[in-house]
Each structure stands twice: as structure tokens, then as C-alpha cells.
């Protein structure tokens, strides 16, 4: 649904937004945090299959899912998914605690989930806020919600078919770790059009 040029521009915009989030996170956890977004895709709701994640990386089978609603003219839901065991690793890395070996899924505490919730919040604000700035619209944001879930439950429970999904793999690089997560943004059809029109407008400007 996106041409290579559209994808390239969107990746550049999102990497700038994630740079803002990384800078905030770095300041907060007092260590260098790099967020990178190597790839993205835009798909219709009925073509977007979260189970592909699991096929690509079985770690995603049990995941931590953080979600947030945003609205007004540009509206939708934003989600971040981390494999549950890697989520604990990310928490440890943020707190500069030594990672230990073991069953991280069973060791995720409520406080750990709160840390993931806050990290996700910062990323959501940067990415969605970046879109708001790009489109010149003032957005409203809910507070993020967090839950432990499975890919199957996510796939059957949270993906409205009438929406379109902008999905992106992202990586967190901290001094002692690299943790990969997935961000996906469900956009209403109108919001998707707004975004694509804006990107096309920018591409015309660049080509001129």
C-alpha cells in the first residue's frame, strides 16, 4: 500500500520522532539509549496478521502489550509489543541492573510492567506527537494501558478489520543490551489518507 519512496520518507520522519523519544529516555535512565526503526509496512486490517510476528520470532508468543488511544482529526490506536522475557531485560537495562539468567516471564513484576508502560508512553508521545506536528493537528492522547498477553489473543481481540495498520519493527539499544519490539498503529481510513496525502505533498516538494 506504500511505495518505496513513501516508505523511505515515513521511516525518516519516524526515526526523527524516535530520536526525540530516545533522547528523553537517555536523560531519564542516565545512559545512552538508541531507538531505531529499520522497516515499516502499511496493511489493511484484514491483511494484517500478528501471528506472522510469532513465526518470525517465537519469543513474541507471550508478550507485553502496551496500547494508547489518540484522537481528534487524526485518530487511532497505537500499540507496542515486546516479547515478555525481553521486556524484563529491557527493564533491567534501563535500571542499569545486571541481567540474570532465567525465566523472565515469571519474574515480571507490576513495577516492571509500569516501567514498560512509561517507556511505551514516551515512544507513543514522540511518534504520534510527531504525526500531529507533521499534519498540523492538535491531538488528544489517553494514558497507556498495559497487559500480558499472547499473539493469538491479540490477533483475535484487538485488531479491527476496518482500520489500516502501520506496523514497524523497532530496536532499543542500551549499553548492555539490544531489545526488539514492534510498534503498530491502527489508523482510521480517513487518518491514513491524511497521512499519505501529507507524505505525497512532501515528496512533491522534495522532487520540485
Amino acid at each position: 500500500m506504500l511505495s518505496d519512496l513513501q516508505k523511505d520518507l515515513l521511516i525518516e520522519i519516524l526515526n526523527t520522532n524516535l530520536g526525540v523519544a530516545a533522547s528523553l529516555l537517555s536523560e531519564m535512565v542516565d545512559q545512552k539509549v538508541i531507538l531505531s526503526l529499520p522497516s515499516l509496512d502499511l496493511k489493511k486490517g484484514n491483511e494484517f496478521d500478528l501471528r506472522l510476528l510469532n513465526r518470525e520470532d517465537p519469543d513474541f508468543n507471550t508478550s507485553v502489550l502496551c496500547s494508547m488511544r489518540f484522537g481528534n482529526d487524526f485518530s487511532g490506536n497505537a500499540y507496542i509489543v515486546f516479547p515478555a522475557d525481553k521486556a524484563k531485560y529491557l527493564v533491567n537495562a534501563c535500571l542499569a541492573e545486571e541481567p540474570d539468567n532465567g525465566d523472565y516471564y515469571n519474574r515480571l513484576t507490576a513495577q516492571d510492567l509500569d516501567v514498560i508502560r512509561e517507556i511505551s508512553n514516551i515512544i507513543f508521545n514522540a511518534v504520534i506527537g510527531g504525526f500531529g506536528n507533521l499534519l498540523g493537528v492538535r491531538l488528544e492522547y489517553s494514558l497507556p494501558q498495559i497487559e500480558m498477553t499472547t499473539i493469538d489473543a491479540m490477533d483475535s481481540g484487538i485488531l479491527p478489520e476496518e482500520m489500516h495498520f502501520l506496523s514497524m519493527f523497532n530496536s532499543f539499544y542500551l549499553p548492555k543490551s539490544q531489545v526488539r519490539g514492534v510498534i503498530f498503529i491502527a489508523l482510521s481510513v480517513n487518518s491514513e489518507k491524511m497521512l499519505i496525502n501529507k507524505i505525497d505533498e512532501m515528496l512533491v516538494g522534495i522532487n520540485d
Binding site: 528523553l24 536523560e27 531519564m28 535512565v29 527493564v91 534501563c94 535500571l95 513484576t109 507490576a110 513495577q111 516492571d112 509500569d114 516501567v115 508502560r117 512509561e118 508512553n121 514516551i122 508521545n125 506527537g129 500531529g132 492538535r138 491531538l139 488528544e140 492522547y141 489517553s142 494514558l143 497507556p144
Partner: protein
């Protein structure tokens, strides 16, 4: 109605602060009074950063500005921030709070609603619960380890530390479920010659020491994968797998007979014993573990009858009462 809303906000167990776009406090609920020891009358109309030191920091100024200028909501976790509002007096080290900041547009004015949730008790309970779980895990691992040791002990002969009768029977029973291993295996039944006289002459302690030394010799003369077991008394069994020929069994038999026949020095006394060995290569007529031991035992008795200090390889003639054809050593 406004009185009702105020009453409701003052009744909840979450701290609520409302600030306007200039960060002036317009609401400070009773819960905030309790956690900060700052009365409403003292807080209202003052800048947030004047009342709470935390909000002077750039990080929190940025968060508040994001809410007021860009409408962004924000959750701050106790694990990353510890706490935001501290009491004027008392121990502040263990205080843990979460914070939510939400923007609110009322007419032309933008406000930020700050919720402070004290989770000190939850964190403390979680810490205790985690410690308890870790203790239970540690206990569980100790029990598992001890079970493992007990299982090993139950399978070992306490004197020689070799596998005991139970362990070798279990091994043989399992091998009978694996025809491939069985086809190329053999069982050696060993009985010391003259062990009783060592016991009678030098005492049981010397006899025990001799058994330990013999066990060591047997272990050292077979391959790592072969299993040496003590059946009881002066009887041993060796289970050998992956044999390629009868000749290789003869080599093992010769080696064991000659090694055991060498004098053994125990506590300054030179002890002489020999061994009679029955060797049973597996064949299809052997149906189970007991059969396997029985034929090896018969071959061993044949070796005893033939003058001891030798091995005999089982064949059908032994069962029918004829002599075996095992080669003599000496």
C-alpha cells in the same frame, strides 16, 4: 454540583493536583495534604515547583509542558522515578509513587491534572512476596538436589560406590527395550576365589578393603561406557555394550583375570585372590535380565568347576551339563 465534585476528589485515595497553563496550583486534594503535609491553603495559588522541589527539575518541567502545550498524557513509574511528592518530615527513603499527568482543555484555558498514587505498601509487599518466592524456589531446588542425591545413593553400593543390584537390573531391563544395544552386548559375572579365607584370616575390615580395591581394578580395566556393579558379597557384574567379536570378550576376560590375580597390598599386607568369570554374549534365546544374569552365572560356575582363576564364555553346552569352551588364562 461543584461541591459534590470537590467532595469526591477529596475523598479518593489518590493525590490530585490541578495546575493551570502557568503551572499555578488551582486544586490540591486532601490526599495530597496527607502525603505532603502541605495544607490546601498553603498550596493553592502557588507555582507547583515552589511547593514540590521535584518539579523544578528539567525532566518534569518538560513533561508538564508536553501536557500543557502539546496535550500529551504521561505516566511516570515509581521504579524509574521513585517518588514525586515527599512529606516535610519523616523517612522519605522508601516512599514509592506513580504519577499520571493528563491535560484538560476547559474553554480557552489548558490545565494539567496530576495524579499521584502512593504505592509504597504495594512495592514493599511485592518485595516481600518476591523474597518469599525466591526462598521457596531455593528450598525447592535444595529438595530436588537432595532427591537427586538420594536417588543416586539408592542406586549405589555404599562400600564400593559401584552400581548396586537394583541399578544394574534397571539398566538391563531398559536395555531389553532397545534391541540394537542388546544385540552387541555381553554380561560378565565375576566371583572372587578365596575371598572367604581373606575374611577369616584378616577380618571383615580387610575383606571390605579388598572389595573396594577389586572394584577399582574392575572399573579401570573396562571402557567408560561399560557398567560395573556389585551384586553383593564378592560377586560383581559387568555389562559391556558395543562388542564387535568374541575375541574382544576374550581379551577383556584375560585382562581382568590377570589383573585380579596380581597381589594387592592393603595396610602393609599382601593379599592374593583370583577371580572366576562367566561371560554371556547376548543371543536371541535370552529373553530378559534374569536370563542374562543366569547364563553368565552358569558360565562362572563352569569356570569355578574348571579350577578357578579363569573365564568361561557361555555356550549351550554349559546348560546341558557339558563343559564350556572358554579359553583358560594362566
Amino acid at each position: 454540583m461543584i461541591e459534590l465534585y470537590k467532595f469526591a476528589l477529596n475523598s479518593i485515595d489518590i493525590g490530585v493536583i490541578i495546575i493551570d497553563s502557568s503551572q499555578t496550583i488551582t486544586f490540591w486534594n486532601e490526599y495530597m495534604e496527607r502525603i505532603s503535609q502541605i495544607h490546601q491553603s498553603e498550596a493553592l495559588g502557588r507555582k507547583l515547583s515552589e511547593i514540590c522541589e521535584t518539579f523544578k527539575k528539567k525532566l518534569y518541567q518538560d513533561i508538564i509542558e508536553s501536557a500543557l502545550l502539546y496535550n500529551q498524557s504521561r505516566f511516570c513509574s515509581s521504579k524509574l522515578h521513585k517518588a514525586f511528592v515527599y512529606p516535610k518530615e519523616g523517612n522519605i527513603e522508601n516512599i514509592r509513587q506513580n504519577m499520571n499527568i493528563k491535560p484538560a482543555m476547559i474553554g480557552d484555558e489548558t490545565y494539567a491534572i496530576i495524579q499521584i498514587e502512593d504505592i509504597t505498601a504495594q512495592v514493599s509487599n511485592e518485595y516481600k512476596m518476591t523474597s518469599l518466592i525466591n526462598e521457596l524456589k531455593k528450598g525447592y531446588l535444595e529438595i530436588k538436589e537432595s532427591e537427586q542425591i538420594n536417588r543416586q545413593l539408592a542406586r549405589r553400593d555404599p562400600l564400593t560406590k559401584l552400581a548396586n543390584r537394583h541399578a544394574i537390573m534397571q539398566l538391563l531391563d531398559n536395555t531389553f527395550k532397545d534391541p540394537k544395544t542388546l544385540q552387541s552386548s555381553a554380561l560378565l559375572f565375576l566371583d572372587l576365589d578365596g575371598f572367604k579365607s581373606v575374611n577369616d584370616t584378616y577380618g571383615h575390615l580387610m575383606g571390605d578393603n579388598l572389595l573396594v580395591r577389586v572394584a577399582g581394578i574392575l572399573k579401570s580395566k573396562v571402557r567408560k561406557d561399560d557398567v560395573v556393579a556389585r551384586l553383593g558379597g564378592d560377586e560383581f557384574i559387568i555389562f559391556i555394550s558395543n562388542i564387535d567379536s568374541i575375541e574382544s570378550l576374550e581379551t577383556i576376560g584375560n585382562k581382568l583375570v590377570s589383573e585380579i590375580a596380581k597381589p594387592i597390598l592393603i595396610d602393609g599386607t599382601m593379599i592374593h585372590v583370583t577371580v572366576s568369570i562367566g561371560i554371556a554374549p547376548y543371543d536371541d534365546s535370552i529373553k530378559n535380565s534374569n536370563d542374562f544374569i543366569k547364563v553368565a552365572d552358569q558360565a562362572m560356575y563352569c569356570a569355578k568347576r574348571e579350577g578357578k582363576n579363569k573365564f568361561v564364555i557361555y555356550d549351550k553346552k554349559i546348560e546341558s551339563g557339558s563343559k564350556g569352551k572358554g579359553p583358560l588364562t594362566k
